[in-house]
Structure formats: C-alpha cells, structure tokens
C-alpha cells in the first residue's frame, strides 16, 4: 500500500472514531448509511472491479439482508444483531449460490439482464405477498441488541450515534480488512485473470464460472450485511430496497469512487451519501444532478474519484 494512502486511511479512521464526540448529531447519523453502503459496495466491487461483472440486481441481496432482519425481529424473539447478521448473510449466501450458479454462465449484458430480473423477481414477490411482507408499506425492523446489550433505556438517537455507530464502524473495518485479504489472496489474483482474459485463464487450468460464482456469493454476503445495517436505523424495510434503480445506484456509487481501486467504493459511498444530502437540502431534483454526474463520470472519468486521485499523485511523483 502506498504510504500516502496508509496515512490517509489512518486519519480517516481517527476522524471516524472521534466524530460522535466532535460533530453535530446530524452528520453522525449520515455516517450510518455510508457505513452500510460501504460494506455492500466492498462486496459489489469484488464482482465489478475484480471479476468484471456488472450486476444490475445487487440490491436483491441488500433486500434479503434487510428483510431477514425485519422478519426476525418482528416474527421471532430474536433481537441479537449478531444473530440477525449471521442469518442474513447465510440466507444471502444460499440465494446467491443458486442464482449465481445460473448467472455466472453468462457475461456482460446477459449477466446484467439476469441479475436485473432476479432483483425484480424478489421485489415483486415481496410486494405482492403482503400477508408475509407487508407489501408496499413494508415491515418494521425493531431495535436489535448489540453484543447482548438491549440498551433499551437509550433514546433512539443516543443509541444510533453511540453504540450503534461504533458497532457499524467496527463491522466496516472488519469487512474492509477481510476484503483486503481476499483481494490479495491467490483467489483474488486468479479472479483477476478470469476478468482480464477468460480464454487464457482457462488454458491455465482456472475454471471461469467457478471463480465468478465464488465472487458472486461473497459479494452477496457483504450486501446482506450492508442491508441489515441500512435498515436498522430507519426501523423499517420496504420493497424499494430491491428495486432495479437501487441496484443501479449501487453501481453508480462504485463507479463514482472508482472500481479499479480497493478503497474506491468506500469513497464512492461517502461522497454519494453526503452529496445527496447536500443537494437535496437545496434542490429537490437530486436525480437530475446525479444523473449528470454519472454521465460526466462515464464519459470523462470512468476510473472515478480514486482514479483521479491516483493520477494526481502519480503526476506529482513523476514531477519530483
């Protein structure tokens, strides 16, 4: 890892740890969806940046995670966030194993279409079977216990900007460390060969569908964890979590941050959340602004913000 990146990360982590103590509550609460999306995007980028597959249905797994949590807290006595997370990730892994087995045999646009179809299948299912899922009104997601602590005496806000914030942060750090290891492992290298040249990868004895499938399942597990974390603060889940445009936004965030960089997706989530908040406070038509940003990104800066930073840093070292 480049020195400047390591320093930047350390600073970011320090800032994140101190935030609840120094920043207004509003900004702290904004970090919560960022952390949830951050985890989900780390997973998505394994699929997008490292395996070369564009999924337009990844919100499916966000939805599975969120609904798993909602279901557990409202229909069972389970309140433990650890149990919820494990269940969500397991459920996502199972679905991804099945769906992935089908989807990874196809590439590019057909992969995108298949994943979009599965995502919308889940959306429609959740929407129509309202006896189970509450339909378009959604389901409630009751406050989970953290490491066994119910913390029921805390107000919702205190819970969210205190223990829940640090819990999410810890999870994000864990998820990041794990993904770093995955990406720098033999598996990660071989995954990139499959991305770069499937024909050549096969001639070296690497099974292309297998690698994509593994990446698909891991990315789904990450997305489910993200989905749980996303739903907890709002206390509610609804079908739009799995709508195809939400999947599109996930890809957008990844592209914004930079798919060719490990930390790009995290950067993308952060910028997206804050930018959306800022724009929405002055101008209700944030989609117009974001659509324009996406267009500019795709045309002029496909490697995203991380790519731009990278270029700037390289130019500086070149000039020295």
């Amino acid at each position: 890892m480049r020195g400047s990146v390591a320093v930047g990360l350390a600073l970011a982590l320090g800032l994140a740890l101190a935030l609840p103590l120094i920043a207004p509550i509003y900004h702290v609460t904004l970090m919560l969806p960022f952390m949830a999306y951050g985890i989900a995007l780390l997973g998505l980028n394994l699929l997008f940046g490292y395996a070369g597959l564009v999924s337009f249905g990844h919100a499916l797994f966000l939805g599975i995670g969120a609904y798993a949590g909602a279901f557990l807290t409202t229909h069972t006595p389970v309140r433990s966030l650890e149990v919820i997370l494990l269940t969500a990730m397991l459920a996502a892994a199972l679905v991804a194993a099945l769906v992935g087995a089908l989807c990874v045999r196809y590439v590019k646009i057909y992969f995108g279409m298949l994943t979009l179809a599965f995502g919308m299948l889940f959306y429609t299912f959740v929407l129509k079977f309202y006896h189970l899922t509450g339909g378009d009104e959604g389901m409630r997601f009751l406050r989970p216990t953290l490491l066994g602590q119910p913390l029921s005496d805390m107000s919702k806000t205190a819970y969210l900007v205190g223990p829940y914030y640090y819990y999410s942060l810890a999870l994000l750090v864990l998820a990041t460390a794990l993904m770093w290891r995955i990406v720098h492992s033999p598996f990660g290298l071989c995954l990139r060969t499959v991305r770069d040249n499937p024909l050549k990868a096969e001639s070296l004895g690497l099974s292309v569908p297998r690698y994509r499938w593994h990446a698909f399942v891991v990315s789904a597990i990450y997305a489910a964890a993200g989905g749980v974390l996303l739903a907890t603060p709002t206390g509610n889940v609804d079908p739009t979590l799995a709508y195809w445009t939400h999947s599109g936004s996930l890809v957008f965030m990844t592209l914004l941050g930079g798919f060719a960089s490990f930390f790009g997706p995290l950067l993308g989530a952060l910028v997206f959340i804050y930018l959306q908040d800022t724009v929405m406070s002055v101008f209700p038509y944030w989609r117009l602004v974001f659509g324009a940003i996406l267009a500019v990104l795709v045309i002029f800066a496909p490697t995203g913000l991380a790519g731009l930073v990278d270029r700037a840093l390289s130019a500086r070292t070149a000039r020295r």
């Binding site: 990139r192 991305r195 050549k200 096969e202 070296l204 004895g205």
Partner: protein, 269 residues
C-alpha cells in the same frame, strides 16, 4: 505414447475438416504440424487440446480420453498450449501472470484467505520461469505495456509455468521478425528443458524453424496426413514438399540430425 489421436474425423456441416487423422507423440519428441491454410491444423489443434469433441475417433492423453474435455481439465492433466493470437492479462503484471499459472499448478488457486505476497514458493517459481524467458527485468510491468514480442513470450511463458508434460505451441514465432525467430526458438527449447517438458508439439509456417528443430514433421492437407516423417524423410519426398511449400527444397545443412533421441537440441549443436 503420451498423446495420441486415432482416426479422428470432424466436419463443419458438409466440409471435412479432419478426415481420419492418426497421430502419436512419444515422450522426448519434438513434432511439428505443417500444412497450408485450410488443411485442418486449427481443427486438429483444438481436438488435441480438448476444445473440440471430434465427430469420430479417439484422442488420448496419457491413456485418458480427452475428447472435448476442455482446457481447464487438460491444463490440470498436464497439457498446455500457447495461442496464435497473443493472449495475455492486460492489467496484470508479468509476475502476477506467472504466479497465476504457478498457483494453478500447485493447487493453491482457490486459497481465499491466504496472503499471496507471503507465498515465497510461488514467487520463486514464477521468477524462475520469467528468467527462462528473459522477462526477469520486467516483473512488475503491466502486461499491456510490454512490446508485442514480449507479450508473445509472456503468453508462452505462462503455459510453461504450468510445467506441463506436453506443450502445444501455436505459431510461436508468427509476428516475430526473422532475425529474432531463432532467438525465440532457442529460448523455447531451453525453457522446455528448464521446466521439464516431455514433448513439444509445434504448429508453424516457417519451414526453416520446422526443419531445424523437429524430430518429426507431420504434413496435413485437406484434413488428411500426407506424411509423418523426419525432416530428411520429408526432404526426400518432393511431392509432399511441393504440396506444403510450393518450391524446390533448399540445402539441408540446417536440418535436425536423424536418429537423435531425447529432448530437442538446438540445430547444429
């Protein structure tokens, strides 16, 4: 016999691409396949490398039936190939490309929680192969930045990094300037010894190379084997030679000496 095709036939519609081809490779042999375009070389190569399931006939590698078994399985069994059109991993470095091959060979390709950087064995293996192909000075260069000739070498080097028992080289010197062709072939021969390849199958158009390095030359035309003999034997067969080359044979000083066993030696050594 390490690789054997028996009475292989294959059709594309009504067109007979392979019409009863029987071919056997023994360990220690350097066999070249020649023939004009459309003779069936590509089809034969694809059949021999498990990419194509022939309409009829058998193909065995080390006694195992490998018809249509696919490149993944075949690479694991010990048969590797390089490609006519250069195939590399554009965003991977030279070292990473070779590491991928080594990981595959060592069965570590799916280790998801291990650190690649910490794996000294894999790194040393990869560096060794890079050394054999003269790429040691550019280990960290992204493959897409390499000059075309080096890309070709990398393509071949990755196949060699699998330490295959048999390697099929599909026009390894195509696109290489005449001056460099010998250097490339020398490198390939040396590398074969370096990684312990038992037999080499070469598809080539350049007759000097073919005659200079082969123990046996198999001449293909219209899906049939016209001749399967030594360089000297082929020179003696003016008819076949004319069908292949279309001109009277040149002086034979550079030919591979007949009756020499073991691995291929550089011509004239």
């Amino acid at each position: 016999m390490i690789l054997e095709a028996r009475d292989v036939r294959h059709f594309y519609g009504a067109f007979r691409a392979l019409d009863g081809v029987t071919l056997g490779i023994e360990p220690g042999q350097f066999v070249s396949i020649i023939g004009p375009n459309g003779a069936g070389k590509s089809t034969l190569v694809n059949v021999l490398t498990g990419l194509l399931h022939p309409a009829s006939g058998t193909v065995r590698f080390d006694g195992r039936d490998i018809r249509g078994v696919g490149p993944v399985r075949l690479a694991r069994l010990g048969l590797a190939r390089s490609f006519q059109l250069v195939q590399i991993f554009p965003d991977l470095t030279v070292l990473e490309t070779l590491q991928a091959a080594v990981l595959s060979r060592r069965g570590r390709a799916r280790w998801i929680l291990a650190s690649l950087q910490a794996d000294g064995e894999v790194r040393r293996d990869a560096e060794y192969v890079a050394e054999l192909f003269g790429l040691a000075g550019r280990l960290h260069a992204p493959s897409r930045t390499l000059p075309q000739g080096d890309k070709k070498l990398l393509d071949v080097a990755a196949a060699f990094a699998l330490r295959p028992r048999v390697i099929l080289l599909d026009e390894p010197t195509s696109g290489v300037s005449t001056r460099d062709k010998t250097a490339v072939m020398e490198m390939l021969v040396r590398a074969s010894r370096g990684v312990g390849v038992e037999a080499i199958l070469l598809v080539e158009h350049d007759m000097d190379i073919v005659f200079g390095y082969s123990d046996r030359i198999v001449a293909l035309q219209q899906g049939r084997i016209l001749a399967d003999t030594t360089p000297a034997g082929l020179r003696a067969d003016a008819e076949v030679l004319a069908a292949m080359v279309g001109r009277p044979p040149q002086p034979s000083a550079g030919d591979r000496a007949p009756g020499a066993g073991g691995r291929a030696r550089p011509a004239g050594s």
